[in-house]
Amino acid sequence: MVKFSVEALDIWFGKTQALKHVTMSVREKEILSVIGPSNSGKTSFLRMLNRFNEENPEFRMSGVVSMDGRDVRKIDRETLRRKIGMVFALPLPLPLSIFDNVAYGPRMHGERDNRRVAQIVERSLKQAFIWDEVKDRLHESAFKLSGGQQQRLCIGRTLAVGPEVILFDEPCSGLDPISTAKVEETMMILKKDYTIILVTNNVKQAARVGDRTAFFLSGELVELDATDKMFTAPSDKRTDDYIRGKFG
């Protein structure tokens, strides 16, 4: 099943073209790793899916991005973003308590019943494997958690909205190896229920986690293939150079 399909997508920020004629699709309940050097358009690609680029007044595009066969621009932003969660590069707790961070999404979508909110919070934090570490301090500021805990809290907060897709934009770039391993483990388990797109600067992480991998270079999609195939026998010379660490 195709979750997203992207057709002939070109996008610009002012005069810089950030994506060049990208055509590809993302399958339901796969983990798609997206790799590529800095400024290759990985973040720009991710932000096409939840219409985040449109917040930028300089942004222009041509082509089509669709989710479940519907042009995302025909879905209103709030609805679309309830279906597509996003976890950012740095852990970004809101300046609220741990509990209120997770409750924020459901509350904004009209959940008034405090018991149900508490259930959602507990379930989401369990899914993000952080419940045991925070269950006794739910009403402390989220900033008191360690970086790795904050990032798993952010994953829990995303899950609380009940998305179908989760976008991760270099979620481990600010984390130590142990926290990174925990986040990766979380993603592997979430894969059963969610479509996951993981942008990463870390080629090894892409190889460990991804079912398929997409390689971007200067805004072009160079190659998209099963991760095993891509890392053993890439069909493009540039992919080979990149995963061997020859540039970027």
């Binding site: 917040e55 809101l94 300046p95 924020y104 999404g105 907060r157 909205v161």
Partner: protein
């Protein structure tokens, strides 16, 4: 470079110290003189009684009340409008020439002399809207005077809230207004309050804007409605210092001391609020 870095440093330090003292000493002196000469006049009767004997004796109660009314009216008018304008300008307005010129105009309006606001208030509220010289006209005039201050302070406070918080909120499917209402505004409140209180202080202290729009020379009773004239501290001070002969120096300095205390008190509250919120600030 100098051959004697240490000596150069000492000289520079000395000059900086002198410059600082040049500013601090006169201000400190003014405060000391006002307290010294005014303190003997300030007692409960002075604060709570009507003026007597052509304002040469008795208290300044109606002027205190008048100033409180005016300041309250000015804030009731300027805070909601200023805050809405600030939210519009920093969150919604597209960044184009029109928006930029509006922002520039607002910043410059803060520097317009207060007597100009007085004339404007006279023409618009007193004459055109026929509110007459009244608390309403005076409050609106003061409100307009402090609007730029409130808008600028609020905009700065709103823009100081990290953009990433807004992105997080939007990424969770919150609407733009929900994001402003639940994330941006709560985190901007300390800055907004500080700006508002500084505006209050300015409104309490100015004479020129109330001169033509509300201030009564001598009105030995309290105003009954917003269409009444009122006495006010800065104007009262002006009157007893220049218009009424033979006013005891004590009374004049006492009035100045009360006005100064009110303004300093408001600034102090602003500082405390800012400090308390900064300690609570979590990013």
């Amino acid at each position: 470079m100098s051959k004697h870095p240490l000596r150069t440093q000492k000289i520079a330090f000395f000059l900086l110290l002198v410059a600082t003292l040049l500013i601090v000493v006169p201000v400190g002196l003014i405060v000391v003189v006002i307290i010294q000469k005014g303190w003997p006049a300030v007692n409960w009767q002075f604060l709570s009684e009507m003026p007597r004997q052509g304002m040469r004796a008795g208290g300044i109660f109606p002027a205190i009340v008048g100033t409180l009314y005016l300041v309250t009216g000015a804030i009731l008018f300027a805070l909601p409008i200023g805050l809405l304008a600030a939210v519009y300008l920093s969150e919604y307005a597209k960044d184009n020439i029109l928006t930029r010129s509006i922002k520039l105009a607002i910043v410059n309006l803060a520097g317009v002399p207060s007597v100009v606001y007085g004339l404007f208030g006279l023409a618009l509220f007193v004459v055109f809207f026929k509110f007459g010289a009244s608390i309403l006209s005076g409050s609106l005039t003061l409100g307009i005077m402090i609007l730029p201050l409130i808008i600028t302070a609020s905009r700065e406070a709103l823009e100081a809230v990290p953009y990433s918080f807004r992105e997080v909120s939007l990424s969770l499917g919150a609407s733009k207004w929900q994001t402003i209402r639940h994330i941006v505004l709560p985190n901007a409140i300390p800055g907004i309050i500080t700006g508002t209180i500084l505006g209050l202080g300015r409104a309490a202290g100015e004479t020129a804007p109330i001169l033509f729009t509300v201030a009564a020379f001598y009105l030995p009773r309290l105003p009954q409605s917003v269409f009444d004239q009122a006495m006010a501290l800065p104007y009262h001070l002006y009157v007893i210092s220049t218009q009424v002969p033979n006013v005891d120096e004590k009374v004049r300095y006492g009035t100045a001391l009360v006005l100064l205390s009110m303004v300093l008190f408001m600034n102090l509250v602003a500082i405390i609020i800012r400090y308390r919120f900064r300690k609570k600030k979590k990013w």
